[in-house]
């Protein structure tokens, strides 16, 4: 679909994301692929920036430290502040820099987005934490869904072969940790998925690539999650 293409004029569908309507007619507003779901027509974008939505799990990077809050870059058009009360720690006023400093990566959740797109993030939930060790890479936010796969099938596949810790943020940032050669294999696999995101038979190709790069599926080691939590 190309912006301005008429998708439907029957009036039987609802206009979903990536579309707009005039009367009964639904038109595409973005470049992408047409998808129909429960009577709603939408366009799955092929490109574009991350648009924050409440509840999204994202990887933020601290850019500024204030006396009672941090500014984070969540790869969106908007900066996202995080207040010191939105962390798992008990922080005295002015002691924020002892917990997070600029360039630190954090796993956080979008707390809310208002109509002016003022965004706030939170770390006050289980598993949300400062990311230590490993690597953070960036992909196009439009391709995140393919890296995760249906019900997490694609990321599960990667984890099965590489035995890496991987977290895919909705904002297109991916954190990977594990053995160094396996981190590289994981990153190469993600790059492959990004490049071929809209071709069919992706899962088979990814599996073949993983077999070549990472060898046989690994026996999962004990969860490293505990060690990572600060």
């Amino acid at each position: 679909m190309i912006p301005g293409d008429k998708i439907d004029d029957s009036g039987r569908y609802k206009a979903g994301p990536g579309t707009y309507f005039i009367g009964r007619d639904i038109f595409a507003s973005r470049l992408g692929l047409l998808a129909e779901r429960n009577g709603t027509l939408g366009v799955i974008p092929l490109s574009g920036v991350y648009n924050p939505r409440p509840g999204d799990l994202v990887i933020g990077i601290v850019t500024e430290v204030g006396p009672s809050n941090w500014m984070t870059d969540i790869n969106a058009p908007y900066p996202a502040p995080m207040h010191s009360s939105e962390t798992p720690w008990k922080i005295e006023f002015g002691e924020t820099a002892e917990y997070l400093r600029p360039k630190d990566a954090i796993l956080c959740k979008i707390l809310f987005v208002d109509e002016n797109k003022k965004v706030q993030v939170t770390m006050k939930e289980p598993n949300l934490r400062k990311l230590q060790g490993g690597q953070v890479i960036e992909i196009s936010p439009a391709k995140v869904a393919r890296v995760i796969g249906k019900n997490g099938s694609m990321s599960a596949l990667i984890k099965k072969y590489t035995d890496c810790w991987m977290f895919v943020g909705q904002n297109g940032r991916i954190w990977v940790n594990g053995d160094l050669p396996m981190i590289q294999a994981t990153i190469d696999t993600i790059r492959l998925i990004e490049a071929e995101a809209h071709k069919s038979g992706l899962t088979e190709r990814v599996e073949a690539f993983l077999k070549e790069r990472a060898g046989a599926p690994k026996v999962p080691t004990t969860p490293r999650m505990e060690a990572e939590v600060q």
Binding site: G4, S47, K199
Partner: protein, 240 residues
């Protein structure tokens, strides 16, 4: 100089209502969010789109919608005599009218407080660069995944040697009587840019406008084809 002969053939051998060859390629720059390269006769244009991103300086932000910041620039080597680099009156005007044309089609309300940068670089100029730039920028915007009501395409018409003609060439632009660049939003048919340099009678204007809109439609097909080609391999191509 005879811009158009008695048989109605123009200096470069075109008919009055015939356009120059146009070639468009989308997604040519990897650092940009969206980009396009366009050749229109002797014009060579590169367009790059960045954003939406946080609008800087802060006072340029609009709390209700995104601002479109277009920068049209001609390279020093784009014309016969060296052009003094940097913005001048002409390029500032073109940047402004192109920004305003795009503000009409981009769904700016989806990105309050953000800015969308559109950079248009004219590498080689041969009449009709604002239309060429606008056409290339529209493809770059679509490539960047920016929501729009429709694609903009542009084409000029005018009058040279006493005839109304489509898509003026260099000599026709310099020595002709009038130039009428037009840009339309394809989905609605709205005119988003219309300028006129020179004089046309009402009848001539009507015909020139009709020519220009027909030209826009031709260009639109090429824009669509360029975007389709960019993602052809993504639509299951190669292994169907």
């Amino acid at each position: 100089m005879e811009l158009i002969n008695k048989k109605g053939v123009r200096m470069d051998g075109r008919k009055p209502d015939q356009m120059r060859d146009v070639r468009i390629e989308a997604g040519v720059l990897h650092r940009a969010d969206g980009s396009a390269y366009l050749e229109w006769g002797g014009n060579k244009v590169l367009a790059a789109v960045y954003g939406p991103r946080e609008a800087i300086p802060r006072h340029s932000q609009d709390a209700t919608k995104a601002v479109v910041k277009c920068r049209y620039n001609m390279a020093a080597f784009s014309v016969d005599d060296r052009k003094r680099p940097g913005p001048d009156r002409r390029s500032q005007e073109i940047s402004k009218v192109i920004s305003e044309a795009f503000e009409n089609v981009i769904l700016t309300e989806e990105f309050p407080r953000a800015q969308i940068d559109v950079n248009i670089e004219i590498l080689e100029a041969e009449a009709g660069t604002r239309c060429a730039g606008l056409t290339a920028a529209a493809v770059a915007l679509a490539d960047a995944g920016i929501p729009m009501t429709g694609l903009i395409s542009a084409c000029a018409a005018g009058k040279a040697g006493g005839h109304v003609i489509l898509d003026l060439g260099k000599a026709e632009d310099n020595y002709g009587e009038a130039d009428l660049p037009v840009a339309i939003n394809h989905q609605t048919g709205e005119v988003v840019l219309l300028q006129m340099d020179g004089d046309l009678s009402q009848k001539e204007f009507d015909q020139a406008l009709e020519y220009a809109i027909r030209g826009c439609k031709e260009v639109h097909e090429l824009q669509k084809a360029a975007l389709m080609k960019r993602y052809a391999s993504h639509n299951g191509g190669g292994e169907a």
